[in-house]
């Protein structure tokens, strides 16, 4: 069986004043129809990895990889026009910051309808119906009103759900969700995760779930990549995240304050320069 | 110290003194600027212009005021007058060279007055708000709504013709847009956390405006000013065209163009050469402005 996604030796480079900066360095992983979590501290290259898959790194950034295969087709070989058919239709991405990721002067409805009609040849009414259905699916109560509203009238949490709805409309095979729940209240967060969960289980969608929140990833995902300084330092089954061995992962886990019991001091991560140097942990 | 050591010292992320920090910030800005070839090209032109202005007496082949009525309106490439001569037989090249002084003078003066006035009005209006804002913005509107030429002409007419007054007049018409920009910028800055933080230290409005808001507005103003330079030179030329700018026989470029206007059909170079000079300078300022925008825009800092 071919994997849904097969990324091999992915590099993302930015030229800067002080020479070249590698945001992602040799990341390789495979993804089936499952939930893959990517965690790591800020700036570790999580979002860049996600964007690189869609070839959305803006110049002067460059993407290099041995291959990025989606169902066996190498995305890197595709022309920009062919890529357009992949984006949205086959791979979607929920962007990190909903506040800036929605067009401020278009109504939510228009943006959702647009997402549908880019790939499906349906009528506007169909698109509308689908949009409302998706909004309701992400537990937005007043979908009709939200369709008419503008992004700035939405709270951060609603924006994030709209973003998710929008990206799910074309029924992608693979969804990359970049911190999709960070702005959500804990209760809504649960609902959203449930939706994603169902899509993976019922429809066999692949999901890359990027997050800060180690506990959440551990509970929600099947597998986890832990990134540090553009590399994958460890990969493990989500359920066994708490048994992770890499000192970085352990450090992250330990530095969390605990709700259930008081602690004196929190443990502080001691960074080891060697972590950044070591090669990425890959599937082979 | 060797060159590389200097570089190292300047490029450090961990400066050790205020001076080094300043120098490093400047140097990094310079590096960013330098990598922009076009901006460097613009800068080059301006440096050249400065040099020309400074060494005008050395460079100029003739006295810019020397008249030779028998030798008037010589075409381009005439022996001894490579850019020809004007209506009174004066050497155009020499006049252009000397004129660069006046052009620079105008540009420098307007650039000093208009943005500063705009900055003060705009930031005060934006920061203080309320009726102060109302009053200042109404005044700004009034000046903005004035036909510019009327205002400038009236001003020049009231104070008499002459380059200083022309400059003052242009400044008087040029400040309102700057005030608008500064105000808009101030409005976005004034509620930011870092301004709140200074307020929590008990800083007064004057201090906040001058020490905290100005430095942030200045960069966008600088960019805007460099983009407006061509306009300023031409506005001065426009006044000159109406006889109200630089007084004859001063070789101000705008005045030269308007003198040459009479011969444009048969002796096109008389007006075109100073026109090209203005074009070059404004191109230079524009390229420079674009480059500065990249360097100064905080958003581009990573």
């Amino acid at each position: 069986m071919t994997d849904l996604l097969d990324v091999k030796d992915l590099w993302v480079r930015f030229p800067t004043r002080k020479g070249q900066f590698d945001a992602v360095r040799g990341v390789s992983f495979r993804l089936g129809r499952e939930r893959l979590g990517i965690v790591g501290e800020s700036g570790s290259g999580k979002s860049m990895t996600g964007r690189a898959i869609l070839r959305l790194i803006r110049a002067p950034g460059q993407v290099e990889a041995a291959h990025i295969k989606l169902d066996g087709e190498d995305l890197l070989q595709k022309s920009e026009v062919e890529m357009r058919a992949v984006r949205g239709q086959r791979i979607s991405m929920v962007m990190q910051d909903p506040k800036f990721s929605l067009n401020p002067v278009m109504t939510v409805g228009d943006q959702l309808i647009e997402a549908y009609r880019l790939h499906a040849k349906g009528t506007r009414a169909e698109a509308r119906a689908k949009a409302i259905e998706m909004l309701e699916a992400v537990s937005i109560r007043d979908a009709e009103r939200v369709m008419r509203a503008y992004p700035h009238e939405m709270s951060g949490g609603m924006g994030q759900r709209i973003m998710i709805a929008m990206m799910l409309i074309p029924d992608p095979e693979l969804l990359i969700a970049d911190e999709p729940t960070s702005a959500l209240d804990v209760s809504v967060q649960a609902q959203v995760l449930q939706i994603l969960d169902r899509l993976v289980q019922d429809r066999g969608m692949g999901l890359i779930f990027i997050s800060h929140d180690l506990n959440l990833v551990a509970q929600f995902c099947d597998r986890v990549l832990i990134m540090y300084a553009g590399r994958v330092v460890e990969t493990c089954d989500a359920a066994r995240l708490h048994e992770a061995t890499h000192p970085y992962t352990r450090g992250l886990l330990n530095s969390l304050p605990r709700f259930d019991a008081p602690q004196g001091r929190l443990e502080v991560l001691k960074r080891d320069p060697a972590w950044a140097e070591a090669p990425s942990v890959g599937p082979e | 110290m060797s060159g590389t050591a200097w570089r190292e010292w300047l490029l450090t992320d961990t400066p050790h003194s205020r001076m080094q920090a300043r120098a490093a910030a400047l140097y990094q800005g310079w590096l960013a600027f330098r990598s922009n070839t076009l901006a460097m090209f613009g800068l080059g032109i301006l440096v050249f212009l400065l040099a020309v202005a400074a060494f005008a007496p050395v460079i100029a082949p003739h006295d810019p005021y020397y008249q030779d009525l028998a030798n008037r309106l010589q075409p381009l490439g005439t022996e001894g007058h490579s850019l020809g001569t004007d209506s009174l037989g004066r050497d155009i090249l020499s006049r252009l060279i000397y004129g660069s002084r006046i052009t620079l003078y105008i540009v420098a003066l307007v650039a000093l007055i208009a943005p500063v006035a705009g900055l003060i009005v705009g930031t005060v209006a934006g920061y203080v708000g309320g009726w102060v804002d109302m009053v200042l913005m109404r005044i700004t509107d009034i000046f903005l709504a004035f036909p510019r030429l009327v205002l400038a002409l009236a001003f020049v007419a009231a104070l008499g013709a002459g380059i200083e007054n022309a400059v003052l007049a242009i400044s008087l018409t040029a400040w309102p847009p700057y005030a608008r920009i500064a105000r808009a910028e101030t409005l976005t800055i004034r509620n930011s956390d870092y301004i709140s933080a200074v307020r929590l230290q008990g800083a007064g409005p004057l201090r906040i405006i001058t020490k905290h808001i100005w430095p942030l507005c200045i960069s966008s103003l600088i960019v805007r000013v460099t983009l407006d330079m061509a306009g300023i030179i031409l506005a001065a030329a426009g006044l000159g065209f109406l006889g109200l700018g630089a007084q004859p026989p001063s070789p101000e470029w705008g005045a030269m163009i308007s003198e040459g206007r009479r011969f444009i059909l048969d002796h096109w170079w008389v007006a075109t050469m100073p026109g090209l000079a203005i074009f070059t300078v404004s191109l230079a300022f524009n390229l420079l402005g674009d480059g500065l925008r990249d360097v100064l825009d905080p958003k581009s800092e990573k």
């Binding site: - | 009525l69 026989p249 009479r262």
Partner: protein, 505 residues
Amino acid sequence: ETPANMLVIATRIDDITSLDPAQSFEFSGGDVIRNLYGKLVNFDPLNLEAGFQPDLAESWEVSEDGRTITFTMREGVNFESGNPVTAEDAAFSLRRAVKLNLNPSFILTQFGLTADNVDEMIRVEDGKLKLTTDKAYATSFVLNCLTANIGSIVDMQTVMANEQNGDMGNAWLSTHSAGSGAYRLVSWKPNESVTLAANPDFHEGAPAMERVVVRHVQESATQRLLLERGDIDIARNLNPEDIAGVSGRDGVKIQEELKGYLMYFSLNQKVPELAKPEVRQAFKYMVDYEGMANSFLKGQYTVQQNFLPRSYLGSVDENPFSLDIEKAKALLAEAGVEGLELEIGVREVQDRMEIAQSLQNTFAQAGVKLNITVGTGAQILGRYRARELDVYLGTWGPDYPDPQTNASTFAWNADNSDEAQLTGVLAWRNSWDAAGLTEKVDAAVVENDTETRAQMYRDIQAEFRETSPFAIMFQNIEQSAMSENVANFTTGQAIMDAAYWEVTK
């Protein structure tokens, strides 16, 4: 390209402020009015040298005492309204001009006419018009004055029908015509155009050009392009370079006419150094007359160092001064003047600014520093009239075709005190007491023998040339460029305004 029965002229008409002959006092306004109104006496456009000729007055007689002229009116001439032209209309027109007391009224009031006595002095008897003056002026002087536009005869009934607030129709007549001339006014759009339509009943015969359009075209280059493309028949404001540019062209001809106005500079006698006779003399040697006339003024100005324009009664052709820096220096040294620094006021007109720069250049050679102040006409004139300028560079145009017009301003100053406010008198503006010329001018104006009178003016000018603080430099030549097929167009030369009714194409 222009229709055969239509004459299209490009010129600058932005100086027109009124087309009421009792008010209009500008060049372009004069050009229009000349074609709209008949006068008692008038010049023949095609024979200006002949002097004034009968027009609406068929003949005239001068009384014994020389103070009253009786005009017999021509019969059968009608105004454009159809009303006949009568002596009553003529009397009304002249009285009206005196009573309105607008800019040009001095041309009539200098004969002792006032609002109070004008009904007495101008009267109609037996269908004849009688004009009485306070002194026995030279008849030629009086009649020359009546050829000025203020002597236009307007249609009394029409004008009074349009009176508003006792303005004797002034407001209405500013934008309408009520005359008996070759044309009537169709429209005057300020800064845009003046359109005239032929008066088919014109007493000298219907004009060939049924419509005349005078377009306001500011730029010489624009006028030239219009002419070259055939969109206009005549371009009146081409500068020397554009004249040179079109003169070789097929189908274009240049017509040169000597005009009346003079280019001069004057020295304010309030400046002590300038009041010295040697200094006044010296300045006249510091001007590159020939150089300017042959370069940037080429073809448009001719050297003239006397206050009467050539072709005026008594005009002389003696131009003794030329650029002579050494002589000027010697004269300055003689007067003990050195390091003189002066301000010259100039209007923002290109040729004047160039003249000023040339003066600046030659003055500097003689050791006099000249600072140029450029300003709008109103600005510079204001200071000139207030006697504030050290040196004034400007033009002067005669107001009527009689030597008195210039003599009375250049060489006449009845009271040189500041309080006198004789702001219309150039000698006064320069604080010059006219050094005994005043009386001579007064004498000349009442001399009835024309040759004697002419000689008197020649003498005045000889003295004036040497002693006055006026350095008269040039007389204007108007170069009109026109399509070759245009014939009989005249701008009126030195004494008159343009006339269109003889034009053919």
